[in-house]
C-alpha cells in the first residue's frame, strides 16, 4: 500500500499539472477571442472582393472560364492535398482528424491510379505525415496572426503556379471549420480549379457590356490579378478558421484536463485520508494491545 508521503507527492504533482492546464486553457480562450475577431474583421474585405470580382467580371468582354485557374484540366492525373494543422499539439483530436482525412484522401486517389502531392501546413501534420512515410512536396510552418495573409498569398501563388503549369490538376484543402469551442468540423474543399460556378455566374451579360468602365491598365491585366485574389481569400479563410478551431479545441482539451486533475486530486486526497486513518487506528490498536498486555 502506498504510504502517506507517496500519495502526498502525487497530489502535489497533479496540482502542478492542473496549474499548467488551467493557464493553457486561459491563454487559448484569449487567443480564440482574438481569432474570432480576426474572422469578423476580414468579412468586409472578403465580401467586397467577391462582389468586386463579380462586378468586374460582368463588365469584361474576356471570358472568365478561360482563365488558367478556372479552366478544368481534361484529365486529372495529379492531385495536390493541403492539410492544415497546427504547429502545436495538446488540442484534442484537432490535428489527428486532419491527418486522418488527408491519408484517407491520399489512399482514395492512389487506388484510382493518381499521383498525390502533399503540401501540409503546420508542424504537427508535417511530422506525423513524414513519420508515416509520406513524401512531402512543400511545407508551411509558423503561421502567426501577423503573417497569416502573407502565408495564404504565398501558398496561393505556389499552388496556382503549379496548376497553371499543369503540374497538378486538382487542389484540395483540408481544414477545421470553427463551429464553437466544443465543435469543429473537418472541411474538404476543392480550391483549384476555381469553381465553375464563379465563371458561369459572372460571364458577361449583354446589358453589362455597354457599361463604360475605364480599366487601368487593361481588362485582361485586372482579371488576371483578380482571379488569384479569389484563391488567396479561399486559403486565407481556411487558415483563419483553422486558427480559431485550434484555440477552441485546445481550450476544450485543457478544460477537460483541468477537470480530470481536480477529480484526481479529490480521489487521491480521499485515499490519503484513508491511509492516515488506517495508520492511526493501527497505532491505537497497538497501544490498547500493549496496555492490555500490561494489565493482564
Amino acid at each position: 500500500m502506498a504510504s502517506q508521503r507517496d500519495i502526498r507527492r502525487r497530489i502535489v504533482s497533479v496540482q502542478n499539472t492542473k496549474k499548467i492546464t488551467k493557464a493553457m486553457e486561459m491563454v487559448a480562450a484569449a487567443r480564440l477571442r482574438r481569432a474570432q475577431q480576426r474572422i469578423e474583421a476580414t468579412r468586409p474585405y472578403a465580401d467586397n472582393m467577391l462582389e468586386f470580382i463579380g462586378g468586374v467580371a460582368r463588365y469584361l468582354s474576356a471570358d472568365v472560364s478561360m482563365n488558367p485557374l478556372v479552366r478544368e484540366h481534361p484529365e486529372v492525373k495529379t492531385v495536390t492535398i493541403i492539410p492544415v494543422t497546427a504547429d502545436r499539439g495538446l488540442c484534442g483530436a484537432f490535428n489527428s482528424n486532419i491527418v486522418r482525412h488527408a491519408t484517407d484522401l491520399v489512399k482514395k486517389y492512389r487506388t484510382e491510379g493518381k499521383e498525390v502531392h502533399l503540401v501540409p501546413v503546420g508542424r504537427r501534420g508535417i511530422s506525423t505525415l513524414r513519420f508515416q512515410g509520406y513524401k512531402l512536396y512543400n511545407t508551411y510552418v509558423d503561421i502567426t496572426d501577423q503573417s497569416v495573409f502573407l502565408d495564404a498569398q504565398a501558398l496561393a501563388h505556389r499552388v496556382g503556379t503549379h496548376y497553371s503549369d499543369g503540374e497538378t490538376d486538382r487542389v484540395h484543402i483540408l481544414y477545421n471549420r470553427f463551429k464553437s469551442a466544443m465543435e469543429q468540423h473537418v472541411v474538404d474543399q476543392v480550391i483549384l480549379p476555381i469553381q465553375q460556378e464563379l465563371a458561369t455566374r459572372y460571364t458577361p451579360s449583354d446589358a453589362a457590356k455597354h457599361m463604360d468602365f475605364i480599366f487601368e491598365p487593361s481588362e485582361e491585366a485586372i482579371l488576371q490579378d483578380l482571379i488569384p485574389s479569389y484563391l488567396e481569400i479561399s486559403i486565407y479563410r481556411a487558415f483563419l478558421e483553422s486558427m480559431a478551431s485550434e484555440h477552441g479545441a485546445r481550450m476544450t482539451a485543457m478544460r477537460n484536463a483541468s477537470d480530470a486533475a481536480t477529480e484526481m486530486i479529490d480521489d487521491l486526497t480521499l485515499a490519503m485520508n484513508r491511509v492516515r486513518q488506517w495508520s492511526i487506528t493501527q497505532e491505537i490498536l497497538e497501544v490498547v494491545a500493549g496496555a492490555d498486555a500490561l494489565a493482564g
Binding site: N48, Q153, H157, R158, E216
Partner: protein, 146 residues
C-alpha cells in the same frame, strides 16, 4: 444631399485586417500600376490595379492623409472609391521598429535561400519573403514621408 455629395468622394479603404479608413475626402491619389492617379469627385467609372505604394487623400478640411498600401484594386463608381488592398495602414499607425524587424527577418531568410543554408526541416518560400521585403520597405518609406 446629392448636391452636397458631388463636392466630395467617399473613400473606403479595406484590407484583410479590416476597414482602415472610411470617410469623405475631396481628392484621392492612388498608386496605380500605371503611375499615380488622382481621383476627383464625379470621376468616370474606373477600375484600377494598384501596386505597392502610398495612397493619399485630401480631407475636406485640407489635410493630407497618407497610407501605405500593398497590391490591390480600386473601384470608382458614383462618387465612391473602394480600395481593396492586401494591406493598408495609416502612415502614423506604422510601427517602425516592428516593420524593421520583419524586414530583417525576411532578408535573412532570403539570404539563407540564396546561399542554400536553410536549416534541415525548414523551408523558405522566396516569393513570400520577396513580398514581405517589398511591403516592409514601402511601410518604412511611407512612415518616413509622413
Amino acid at each position: 444631399m446629392a448636391q452636397e455629395d458631388s463636392r466630395y468622394l467617399t473613400l473606403e479603404l479595406v484590407s484583410p485586417w479590416g476597414l482602415t479608413f472610411q470617410g469623405e475626402v475631396s481628392m484621392v491619389v492612388l498608386p496605380a500600376v500605371t503611375g499615380e492617379m488622382g481621383i476627383l469627385p464625379r470621376h468616370a467609372p474606373l477600375v484600377a490595379q494598384l501596386s505597392i505604394g502610398r495612397l493619399r487623400a485630401l480631407t475636406p478640411d485640407e489635410r493630407w492623409l497618407s497610407f501605405a498600401v500593398s497590391e490591390g484594386f480600386a473601384k470608382v463608381q458614383s462618387n465612391k472609391v473602394i480600395v481593396l488592398a492586401d494591406s493598408a495602414e495609416e502612415a502614423g499607425a506604422i510601427d517602425v521598429p516592428r516593420v524593421q524587424r520583419a524586414l530583417e527577418r525576411a532578408l535573412h531568410r532570403l539570404e539563407m535561400y540564396r546561399q542554400g543554408t536553410v536549416p534541415e526541416g525548414e523551408e523558405v518560400d522566396p516569393f513570400r519573403e520577396q513580398l514581405a521585403v517589398h511591403r516592409a520597405r514601402n511601410r518604412l518609406k511611407v512612415a518616413e514621408m509622413a
